[in-house]
């Protein structure tokens, strides 16, 4: 999130994280799973939960305007609201 022009598809999205978290919770609520596998799932779930929460907390409210330089590079300027 530091590079304002960073592509939107870098890394796993919130949606993917949530989907995986739901699957983990489903698996943990079921039977027939080894304890060490269950604990690994729990650890993964906690890590993902933390990642999503941090990501949401890190997002900064802003409105930018996309401009293009003569050399074809893009810049984001503050949008005059």
């Amino acid at each position: 999130m530091t590079d304002p022009t960073e592509g939107a598809n870098g890394g796993e999205g919130v949606e993917d994280q949530l989907r995986r978290l739901e699957a983990i919770v489903d698996e943990l609520s079921g039977d027939g799973i080894e304890l060490d596998a269950a604990l690994r799932l729990f650890e993964e779930g906690v890590a993902r939960l933390r990642a999503v929460t941090e990501r949401l907390a890190g997002a900064e409210a802003r409105v930018k305007q996309l401009s293009e330089e003569a050399d074809g590079s893009f810049i984001l300027e503050d949008f005059d609201e």
Binding site: T5, A8, V14, L18, L21, L56, L66, F79
Partner: protein
């Protein structure tokens, strides 16, 4: 418009000015100048007029004017006398000339007039009219000097019930459909949690304010990137295409909104433009159209992955509600903790159960062995030769200590012992007599 008004003023005494004033052409539509070019080259020197100033041109046989001057004058007078007018009638004899201009007749059953649409004026007209179509045209009445025909130079046209706009839209739709751009399976789902939203619209319009307001209400920390473009007027299609192209190349957001606030039907033109629709279709991310018109569907609406009736509705479709996600995260955290606790308890229960089962299984195994030993002991006892002795039987034991259970093991005179239950008796074999069948 000033040029036209100038031409009207210049129409007074135009016969002499047309012949002598080279600046007059500046007042004329450049296209007329073009159309008249061969004529003007052939125009005779106005020497006669200048040499005989006493009589006005055409007033006497001596000052007779050539046809070209007559027609040119008529043209200027007509153009000066008539402002641009809206005229309605039925189209007939439509021809698309190879030079690109359109020619047709406009009639109402009692009268008709020849019309022309120069090629450069055609882009403001949605589509060419069909034969027999009832249309209203905006035209300047003039004379085509080469023929002396009166004609209407048309710069705007629409058919009854927006027929031309509809025709143009249908033509574009047919082409887009042939290219598969309207196929329902092309529609992409919107991301549930977009990181950044691109908005292609006018930076000064109501649409961007509405999108920002609704988006912030739902997700206070939402990121929005505006890609500015005019959304109405002649330059709108080009600007929209350029903005869409820029957004496609940048690819820095995962969903886009393309639209404008409410407006008149005429303002929808840019969103019915084929190039804009194609640029929108080629965006790498899902796109929501928000043309701000509840009733009319535009071509962009049909090509977009989702059509929203207004920019506010588009923002609602694209931006999730933050509280919903927070609630979901809380519920996931709870589910995770509960799941882990359940798994640990289940494992503990299983271990306890296993231990119990192991203990009782061991106990049962010992019990089984004990009873088996007892049974074996009983059987062993029953089979013991000592038990047989107890019942009064005796066993003969040879001097080598081995039992002699058969007569043939004895020879007469062999010494042996008889073992009885309560003691031993020394004995000697008197004689040996084997059984006959032994």
């Amino acid at each position: 418009m000033t040029g036209r008004r100038g031409a009207r003023r210049g129409a007074r005494g135009a016969s002499s000015r047309a012949a002598s004033d080279p600046g007059l052409d500046l007042f004329l539509d450049p296209l007329f100048a073009l159309a008249n070019a061969p004529l003007e080259e052939a125009r005779p020197e106005p020497a006669v007029v200048r040499e005989l100033p006493a009589a006005a041109p055409g007033e006497s046989m001596e000052t007779a004017i050539p046809v070209s001057i007559l027609n040119q004058t008529a043209k200027e007078v007509l153009q000066g006398a008539f402002p641009k007018l809206w005229v309605s009638g039925e189209v007939s004899d439509f021809k698309r000339h190879r030079n690109g201009h359109w020619y047709f007749c406009l009639g109402d059953g009692e009268a008709q007039i020849r019309c022309v649409v120069w090629s450069r004026d055609q882009r403001r007209i949605p589509a060419s009219p069909d034969e027999g179509m009832q249309v209203t045209v905006l035209g300047q009445l003039t004379v085509y000097p080469a023929r002396g025909d009166m004609q209407l130079v048309v710069t705007a046209m629409e058919a009854e019930g927006d027929g031309l706009t509809r025709k143009a839209i249908e033509l574009v739709l047919r082409r887009l459909e042939a290219d598969g751009l309207l196929a329902p399976e092309r529609k992409r789902p919107l991301p549930r949690y977009p990181r950044r939203i691109g908005v292609v619209t006018s930076p000064d319009g109501a649409a961007i304010r509405d999108v920002i307001a609704v988006a912030r209400r739902r997700w206070p920390a939402i990121e929005i990137v505006v890609i500015p473009a005019a959304v109405q007027g002649d330059g709108a299609p080009d600007e929209l295409c350029a903005a869409l192209d820029r957004l496609a190349r940048w690819s820095g957001c995962d969903v886009a909104i393309v639209g404008r606030g409410g407006g008149g039907r005429d303002d929808l033109r840019a969103f019915n433009d084929e190039r804009v629709a194609r640029a929108l279709a080629s965006l790498p991310m899902p796109v929501v159209s928000a043309v701000g018109h509840e009733i009319d569907m535009t071509i962009c609406d049909l090509v977009a992955d989702l059509r929203a009736p207004t920019p506010s509705a588009a923002a609602e479709a694209v931006v999730p509600v933050h509280e919903d996600l927070v609630a979901q995260l809380v519920s996931l955290r709870h589910g995770l903790a509960e799941g882990a606790r359940w798994q640990i308890e289940a494992a503990r229960d299983r271990a306890r159960d296993l231990a119990q089962r192991a203990a009782s299984a061991a106990e049962r195994a010992i019990e089984r062995r004990r009873s088996r030993v007892e049974a074996l002991g009983g059987r062993l006892h029953a089979l013991s030769p000592l038990a047989t002795l107890g019942r009064g039987f005796a066993v003969a034991i040879g001097p080598d200590g081995g039992a002699r259970g058969r007569a043939r093991q004895f020879a007469a005179g062999d010494a042996f012992e008889l073992v009885l239950a309560d003691g031993r008796v020394a004995a000697r074999a008197e004689s040996v007599r084997l059984a006959e069948d032994a």
